[in-house]
Amino acid sequence: MKARNVGLIMKKDLGGLLNEKTILLAILLQLFVAMFSSFLMVGLTTMYDPSALQKHSGVKYGIGYVGEDSGLRTYLENSHDFLVYDMELSPGIAALKERKLSAVVYIPDIPPDGDDPVKVTLYLLQNDIQAAIVNVKLKEAFLQYEEDLRELRSARLDILPISLEFPAGSGTDFYEFIYGLLIPLLLFMPAIISSALIIDLITEEYQQRTLETLLSTPMSITEVVWGKILACEVLVPIQAGAWLALLSLNGIRVENMLQILLQVASFSLVLILVGALVALYYRERSAAQFIFSTVVVVLMLLALTFPGNPLNLITLLATGTPVQAQWIVFSGVVMAAALLGILVSQYAKRSGKRHLTE
């Protein structure tokens, strides 16, 4: 195997990619996924988060209050979100139907410290986004009231929980989402893209019958395959590195970038080699892609069942958590890649002979 020939193939394939410019779509796609998933998380939570909503609206929602006086009433009145009206049930519901109220609560006559539970009936508008928001705001008042009732009845508890006091005021932030899901996902995508690419590059040479031309030069099939593998592998740290840079620009601090890139590069190589093996075996794109994507899903699910998997490691490294296992996992992955590499070389040689004699 000559390094020069491998380099030539690598240059040819990378040039082809740049020439077609559709790799831009792949990058756009990653951006889209990132935007969409964080939007989904942040947007949805903001939508339902009472404290976030208050910033945008000074709106008060009208609540019809029917039935006995209770502690709940005080909580509703003290909330900045509600205006509480004393009403009868029937006109209250009619007003709700006309959207003159946002909700109606009905409190029955049950003593707070009685044996029976207090059963409140809450009337909301069906299929209405505002009802969902009012629902979230009401939940706070109900939880406070439930706490009071529990206090009143606390003497009747027979198993006492360990009590913990938490520091006050920790708002929503998306720490676990960003570091525990988004970053591993973003860094995993270049690996997927590269390994899908290797299948396209290899099967294309077979299906367009350009492999014969390549093999009629002094180039060997192993050199061709390794050139392609390297072309795909080179793209991984570039894309992953770009992600890390973008995240840092956004004020998301990622620790241990170098170690993360090493981890990403190592498990990408494994996936690319598996892709190459599948492509060499099938020599036909749709079968190879189909089998390969199923294999990737299986491998990924399997890896995720073990703590200390590469994605878990990325989370830990990115947050700056001390990790003991990283070099063990890294060397394990590199060993797997080495074994696969030998397998790919052997198989390429064999199938190259077969290809020429066919």
Partner: protein, 581 residues
């Protein structure tokens, strides 16, 4: 399909099922050992020990306090301390969630269940008779309450019997249900506590269970339905691509068969396969076969897009990139609205919401069906039409660049002999796509904070419309810059504007009446009021692009588009928000 795929596929599928089951059992280990927690009380291990995110260290209060720098959170004598860092706060939050579920487990074991769960809420949903009328002027759904006197209903008041104060569910059933609902801790609850556990008693809930409805299970189930469709459409895409390899398709084209027969023949097995898979799946999960109805337009849309993607990509890598891109965008268009399935009418823009309704055992009406599938039917028809007219030798085997090829495809529909008519048709055909993209934008911007979402929507909606309107003119002028004299440019612009207005109006008449009545709809489909004003707007903006193209050639396209979008935005701002007025 290639050699021995099937046995391996079956084997992989069996492994996949086994692995999925295994993963569901052991959970995903993505965030294991993320936080280190120091405790002085060994019994706390029982509270947080089951959460794999924590590494627990035991120590004396003094040693914990001295080493507090090396922990993310420490618990000393029942007090929780954490450094004031992002990670520290996140650790406290996670700890608090674990503690809450621990408390709930203890509470549900109490002898006197109503001492630990003293408050129960019965949620009754009331259907409003004033469905989206209130939003017509862009005002809030429920009028904000201001006055101190209670509102008086205008309509008749129906007498309602006060609900009974009885719980109506046996105590042990309640306990059982509470214990069971502890187990439904989904992965989502790690990231947000907005979507709490579902109540096992339907509308009967503890305050803790009072959360916005998220049809999580149904969404997962839909994925099961959509996933095979992706794969099958991939195969169709490849089968189209294969005809283009080494000009293999020449044989087919030389037969007297018409292009539509060839395409229909190639698509039929895949289409039948998809229908069969959907049927089998719906029987397998025990759902009604009527799930097929909303899925059919999705199948058609996938096939039509696969045809076009298979016809335009030049190489395998391009095929991969475009198809992955397409399927991600399509997935988000299909899935994202379904999250709001029980919350907002907007969820109906995706046919999959109808699938959720079916799974939930609700029927959907014909108008709902029409509303959510019309765009899919229309765009599929247009895409198939483009594919069929371009299924010719010079298009299939060309090696031109992607954008050139797309514009070639459109050019097939343009005839230089009837430029006005063809421009008219191309513009009308572009409208379903404009609506689809704008719907996507609507969904994307839908719950960003209000002024931001409005501005983003105005700008992007204007841009999308300008791109769509300029497609015909761009194709004509990029082919023959001198083809259009100045007089012709003016007529062409007028024709485009008229076509756009006509198509928009036509499509709106048949669908979307509900969306257009909200404030967002007002922006997207503003140009519907008095006819001559929007006509003038479309005319002016198309003219800007056309003139820019005529003067500078293709280099003038993007600047022209930007200027036209700015004009469009100013117009929108003036008319909706009344700015500069």
């Amino acid at each position: 399909m290639g050699k021995d795929v099937l046995p391996l596929a079956v084997l992989l599928f069996i492994i996949l099922v086994a692995v999925t089951g295994n993963t569901a059992q052991s959970g995903l280990h993505l965030q294991d050992n993320l936080y280190s927690v120091g405790v002085d009380d060994p019994s706390l291990v029982g509270v947080i020990g089951s959460d794999s995110r924590f590494v627990i260290y035991e120590g004396s209060p003094v040693s914990l306090y001295q080493n507090r720098e090396s922990f993310d959170v420490i618990i000393i004598r029942g007090d929780v301390f954490a450094p004031d860092t992002k990670k520290g706060r996140a650790a406290v939050k996670t700890l608090q969630r674990d503690y809450d579920s621990y408390i709930n487990i203890i509470y549900s074991q109490q002898e006197d269940l109503f001492a630990s769960y003293p408050l129960w809420i019965d949620v009754q949903n009331v259907k409003s008779e004033l469905d989206f009328v209130a939003t017509q002027s862009g005002s809030r759904v429920a009028a904000p309450a201001r006055s101190s006197t209670p509102p008086v209903p205008e309509g008749p008041v129906i007498e309602i019997v006060p609900p009974s104060s009885e719980v109506g569910i046996p105590l042990e059933d309640l306990r059982q249900g509470l214990v069971e609902s502890q187990g439904t801790d989904s992965q989502i609850s790690r990231y947000t506590d907005m979507f709490g556990e579902e109540s096992p008693f339907g509308t009967f809930k503890t305050p803790h269970q009072l959360s916005p409805p998220l049809p999580f299970d149904s969404i997962i189930l839909i994925f099961v339905f959509i996933f095979p469709l992706y794969f099958t459409s991939q195969f169709f895409m490849m089968s189209i691509m294969n005809e283009r390899l080494e000009r293999r398709g020449e044989v087919l084209l030389s037969t007297p068969l018409r292009p539509w027969v060839i395409i229909a023949g190639k698509a039929l097995p895949y289409c039948a396969g998809m229908v069969a898979i959907t049927l089998i799946l719906s029987l397998w999960v025990g759902e009604s076969v009527s799930i097929l109805l909303p899925i059919i337009p999705v199948i058609l849309f996938f096939l039509a897009s696969a045809l076009i993607i298979g016809m335009i990509s030049r190489s395998f890598k391009e095929l991969s990139f475009i198809s992955i891109f397409f399927s991600t965008v399509a997935t988000s268009y299909l899935f994202f609205p379904t999250i709001f399935a029980n919350v907002h009418i907007i969820s109906l823009i995706s046919p999959l919401t109808l699938v959720i309704f079916t799974i939930q055992g609700e029927a959907f009406t014909i108008s709902q069906y029409f509303y959510s599938t019309a765009l899919f039917f229309l765009t599929s028809i247009v895409l198939f039409y483009i594919g069929i007219t371009n299924f010719r030798e010079e298009r299939l085997f060309s090696h031109a660049r992607l954008l050139t090829r797309i514009s070639d495809f459109i050019a097939t529909g343009l005839s230089l002999r009837h430029p006005y008519l063809s421009i008219f048709i191309v513009t009308v055909l572009a409208i379903p796509f404009v609506f689809m993209v704008q719907m996507m934008l609507l969904v994307l911007f839908f719950n960003l904070p209000m002024p931001l979402s409005l501005i983003l929507l105005i700008v992007s909606a204007a841009f999308v419309e300008e791109v769509a309107k300029s497609v015909g003119i761009f194709t004509l002028l990029s082919r023959k810059q001198k083809f259009l004299g100045w007089g012709r440019i003016i007529i062409i612009s007028a024709v485009t504007a008229a076509a756009f207005l006509f198509g928009e109006k036509l499509l709106l008449l048949v669908t979307l009446s509900q969306i257009t009545e909200s404030v967002f709809g007002n922006i997207l489909f503003l140009s519907l009021g008095v006819l001559w004003i929007p006509f003038l707007l479309h005319f002016v903006t198309v003219l800007i692009v056309a003139v820019s193209l005529r003067l500078k050639g293709t280099a003038g396209y993007v600047p022209g588009l930007i200027v036209a979008s700015i004009v469009h935005c100013i117009y929108n701002l003036y008319f909706i928000l009344g700015w500069f007025a």
